[in-house]
Symmetry: C2
Subunit: 351 residues, 2 copies
């Protein structure tokens, strides 16, 4: 990005911190929008839509995907990512889970009074880079400031609009007995990276979050004609919760094989120390795809070209008893156990 | 809404307050979604899209409007409204300001741990009523919970998708010399209602917020063929800031006549006590429309059928010096003064 300035465009000596007035609708808010948000998020010099109450967008299809997520992660910066890139990737990934091409996102900040202006600028730059990487346009936004002690640095909401180019019903209701469940990489890194940082734990190597966009790999699968019955990213609640939600919505029985699920040794070790089960730990660049048997080889080849850990981890067995949905885990010693939703809170503020 | 239950669907004796686990991706979050959000926001019994990562929406036009706003208002409930209805109306109004028909919105909650469950339920019910009133569907959402002391009860983000049925360029760049500026009612009530409540001020009658949706009146104007060059709602920064933003973006000189701007007597009195200028006070159901002279009569008839205080308040004079944009106010004693953007923060957390 040689076209872009790297020093904070708001004079730090004059405004070292975010003030209530930066969200007040007056001169300071206008300065923040004009000097920081428009240059960073504006459409490469083209007239931006960010200055109107809403953005007008051309839609080339009859179907769009629409999603939203708020990001309250603590800390704001962590090994492998930060709240800014995560807020872009997370919403992009949610659109990808419908098979849509992520096209437009909105960005809404809730800033805490007293936030260092430099921190905001670093987050904004990270969002810019992430949006450019994914090819999504930031087209509309909002900024609010809350009193010191009534927020926590930065909360970000992103909503996204995706263009549905392949109008297949990619949804839990579409899964069928015999479908193979593919996973696009090792699990547990995001949650453990955050917890290790919060707890001040040090391992031989730093565990980095897996935070990444997955839209390109999903679109690649669709482009080469891989039939995908369902997709789900493995964020809050991890793999176990994603499997449970799909089983419950579809009424199907699902079985996965613990020995096939890739977990890095350091992540497994950290989970043992912290008392976590990696199956429930949040990821930010991992998803599962339900694919009919005949398309597995083709799909795996593509998934592995992005991440060599990608693999099949289980399959859909058939209708479950009373259509309640059921996930069983075959452990490495051969025993089966039911994999349930967690009752409590394992990892707060992980995204 | 005889079809709807009015008692809180989450057992209050068991969960009197929001817990961190209500945002954790496990059983409690699923209970909140299944028992509270889906019945309240679900599409009148039709299968809801709220359970997927993103919602799939049919778009009958080639152009959509897309907007977002976060709501951090304090207090959550105030005379004439609450954060829930405001979060629906505000985003609906932003879509209307592009001439779009508000069709779909997302709802994302950032809840503070310890929030009374009953408060959340009251806000959710208010959002349901507001969405039904406006005819907008809540199609996707998100819930995050932050630690006690790291939020302030409830923050809400809503993003909106509107269908553009009248593809006119309703934007500051479209205003022309001679355009008349119409205002759809009296100003200053929302901000003063909030401040009076915060300061514990009592007046003879309670000043109620003007919080209301304006999409229907805008669509009515468009339907009967009123040419609208620009629309802007008068939220943060009030009428003065909206006029300034439009003047600056268009490079035009705008003049308004103070004596024509309707401000209720009690609002004027409260402004004097609190030291506010009603021209800068936030509204939540007021907008200005820039309309060519020939359409003023038709437009005013429609605006007045909704609010008898609607009136013309000024006009576009012509290009401003060096295209910088300029707003002048003709005072009631005939003197002209420049109406500028505010430098500081007048009313924090008003929306």
């Amino acid at each position: 990005m040689p076209d872009f300035q790297f020093s904070c465009p708001i004079p730090i000596d004059q405004y070292p911190h975010v003030l209530m007035a930066h969200g007040g609708g007056g001169k300071l808010m206008q300065q923040l929008i004009q000097k920081m948000f428009l240059p960073a998020f504006g459409n490469n010099g083209k007239p931006s839509t960010l200055q109107h109450d809403s953005a007008l967008l051309k839609i080339p299809t009859e179907l769009i995907a629409f999603t939203t997520d708020s990001y309250v992660i603590h800390p704001l910066f962590f090994p492998g990512g930060d709240i800014g890139s995560m807020a872009v990737y997370g919403t992009v990934n949610d659109l990808a889970m419908s098979g849509a091409r992520p096209s437009y996102i909105s960005v809404s900040f809730i800033l805490e009074e007293g936030l260092p202006m430099k921190t905001l600028w670093n987050v904004v730059q990270s969002m810019r880079r992430a949006a450019m990487e994914v090819g999504v346009q930031i087209v509309t936004g909002d900024t609010k400031v809350v009193d010191k002690g009534k927020g926590d640095g930065i909360f970000i909401n992103t909503a996204g609009v995706g263009i549905v180019e392949y109008p297949y019903a990619i949804a839990p209701q579409s899964i069928r007995p015999g479908d193979v469940i593919l996973l696009n990489g090792d699990i547990g890194r995001h949650g453990i990276a955050i917890m290790a940082m919060r707890e001040g734990l040090e391992f031989e190597t730093t565990i980095k979050s897996d935070s990444a966009p997955v839209s390109n790999v999903v679109l690649e699968l669709l482009k080469v004609g891989v039939t995908i019955h369902c997709l789900r990213d493995l964020t809050r609640g991890g793999l176990a919760s994603a499997l449970n939600e799909i089983a419950q919505t579809s009424g199907m029985a699902i079985q996965v094989d613990e020995g096939l699920i890739p977990v890095r040794e350091d992540v497994r070790g950290a989970c043992e120390i912290l008392g976590f089960d990696p199956l429930y730990v949040a990821n930010e660049g991992r998803f599962i795809a339900f694919v009919p048997q005949g398309k597995v080889e083709k799909a795996l080849a593509i998934l592995r070209s992005h991440n060599s850990d990608a693999c099949g981890i289980g399959s859909v067995i058939g209708r479950s008893n009373r259509n309640m949905g059921l996930v069983t885990l075959q452990s490495q010693i051969g025993a089966n156990r039911i994999l349930d939703l967690l009752s409590g809170e394992q990892l707060p503020r992980i995204c």
